[in-house]
Amino acid sequence: MSTINHQWERFTFQKKLARFAVYLVTVAAFLASIRTVDVIPEFFYDAPNQISDMFSRMWPLDTAFYPITVHAALMETLHIATLGTLVTLIFAVPLALLNARNVVANPVVNWISRFFLVSSRSVNSLVWALLFVAVFGPGVIAGVLAIAFRSVGFIGKLLAEAIEEINMGTIEALRATGASWASVLIKGYWPQVKPAFFSIVLFRWDINVRESAVLGLVGAGGIGVVLNDAMNLFEWQKVSMVLFSIFAVVILAEILVVQIRKRMI
């Protein structure tokens, strides 16, 4: 039997103080933001009535509207998403390679490519779309480029991370055979990142289908244009038809992606 009582505490006194401070700041921030937001109680209490009113005007769906306008716009949206994702790859793959430290062992180059990847991600698709609508005018081109420019950062970053996680022993072995840099890339890096690559691209395509549905709100083509028009004209049954179509397409895309991924990995 030991007669000494050993002292053990998970956190030191300083750490406890720091943790308490974090709680305090969180609560203070919450209270401060509630006061700033300035909720108008009347509007707030009114919300349930408004919601039920809107839903009653949305029902039933204007199914006749689908073949006239919605279908073509929906296809356009899918095309924007797909084309945008493909255009992304032209930029994202080289940037990912330049960003991966185990491909290019030059911090300056890594940093430059990181700069492009971060810039791409720091701007929302809708903002990219606004820019490209200003440049190319409203339409599909602006949508495709908006999707592409936003996705470059996403795919580039995740792909670079996947590349950095590969087993470098394999790369060493292939270099030792006298293989050229390009051959090592093809036979050493590519087989190892292939599953991650397709998984990332499919994931981004899935996101892009949803994002391209809203791009039309700023005039960048697709189903969003139809949605925007219907809302401006208070044609709620058409609005609900559009929303339902988007919902269905997103679900189908999800199922498709899951199936492909399952088969590939």
């Binding site: 087993n167 022993g169 394999t170 060493e172 072995a173 292939l174 270099r175 030792a176 055979t177 006298g178 293989a179 050229s180 390009a182 051959s183 090592v184 890339l185 093809i186 036979k187 050493g188 087989p191 190892q192 292939k194 599953p195």
Partner: protein, 256 residues
């Protein structure tokens, strides 16, 4: 492989330091002029792996010469370095196969130094390469595994693939960095047997880093003992005494 006589390997005054002022290899002078297994023994961290990697320039040595195929490998770069590398086969402790490719394609990656990247992309291997790969695979006893993925194999099988890949290169010398350290004792013996057979058949030296002294003595035609970045023994395997082992590994309580 009669021409490989002139391609044997000479290391002259090789030094390497990863950090300035902390040398790991100190003035290594070695001649490799006979075929068969040359076992390099020594404690961990004494620079055995570094030595092998300095030979094929996976690591650039700080100073010294590596004479191979009538060229000082430390003075060549780029395409010329790769042209020489393809005649230096290398085998690794962790096999370092391309796990997601089939066994046969892993063997064929041994030919990457002889083909363009475009042909590598299109898997455009020559018929000779494909024939050789299948024959070699049969020789190492893995004929039935040709079309399986490398990651479905056991450790011993993977190492056979690793050795076959190195032999596919048509090497004038083999470097093996602890090829048996991840394997059970029985498999380790089989792997050493295979390397011995192949080195003799191709009439080339095989430099093998190895921890198991008695296994090394069993197969080696010559042994090199390293300690503290120096070569402290270089001679026939039966010439190694307890005194040598004490000098190489330090201490003596583990000997008995």
């Amino acid at each position: 492989m009669a021409e490989s006589q002139q391609n044997y390997l000479q290391i002259r005054n090789l030094n390497h330091e990863y950090e300035a002022g902390k040398p790991i290899l100190r003035g290594i002078d070695l001649n490799f002029d006979q075929p068969g297994i040359i076992a390099i023994i020594g404690p961990s961290g004494t620079g055995k792996s570094t030595l092998l990697r300095c030979i094929n320039r996976l690591i650039n040595p700080t100073s010294g010469e590596v004479l191979f195929d009538n060229v000082d490998l430390t003075s060549v770069e780029g395409k010329e370095l790769r042209r020489h590398r393809r005649h230096i086969g290398m085998v690794f402790q962790e096999y370092n196969l391309v796990e997601r490719l089939t066994v046969i394609e892993n063997l064929l990656t041994g030919r990457l130094g002889y083909m363009s990247a475009w042909n590598a992309w299109r898997r455009n291997y020559t018929q000779d390469d494909i024939n050789n790969a299948f024959e070699l695979l049969e020789m190492v006893g893995l004929k039935d595994f040709a079309k399986q993925r490398a990651d479905s194999l056991s450790g011993g099988q993977r190492q056979r693939v690793g050795i076959a890949r190195a032999v596919m290169q048509d090497p004038y010398v083999l470097l093996a960095d602890e090829p048996t350290s991840s394997l059970d004792p029985k498999t380790a013996v089989e792997i050493m047997e295979l390397m011995d057979t192949l080195a003799r058949r191709k009439n080339i030296p095989a430099l093998v880093n190895i921890h198991d002294v008695s296994l090394a003595q069993r197969f080696a035609v010559r042994m090199v003992g390293m300690s503290g970045g120096h070569v402290v023994y270089d001679g026939p395997p039966e010439g190694i005494t307890e005194d040598h082992l004490k000098q190489i590994y330090g201490g003596e309580s583990w000997l008995s």
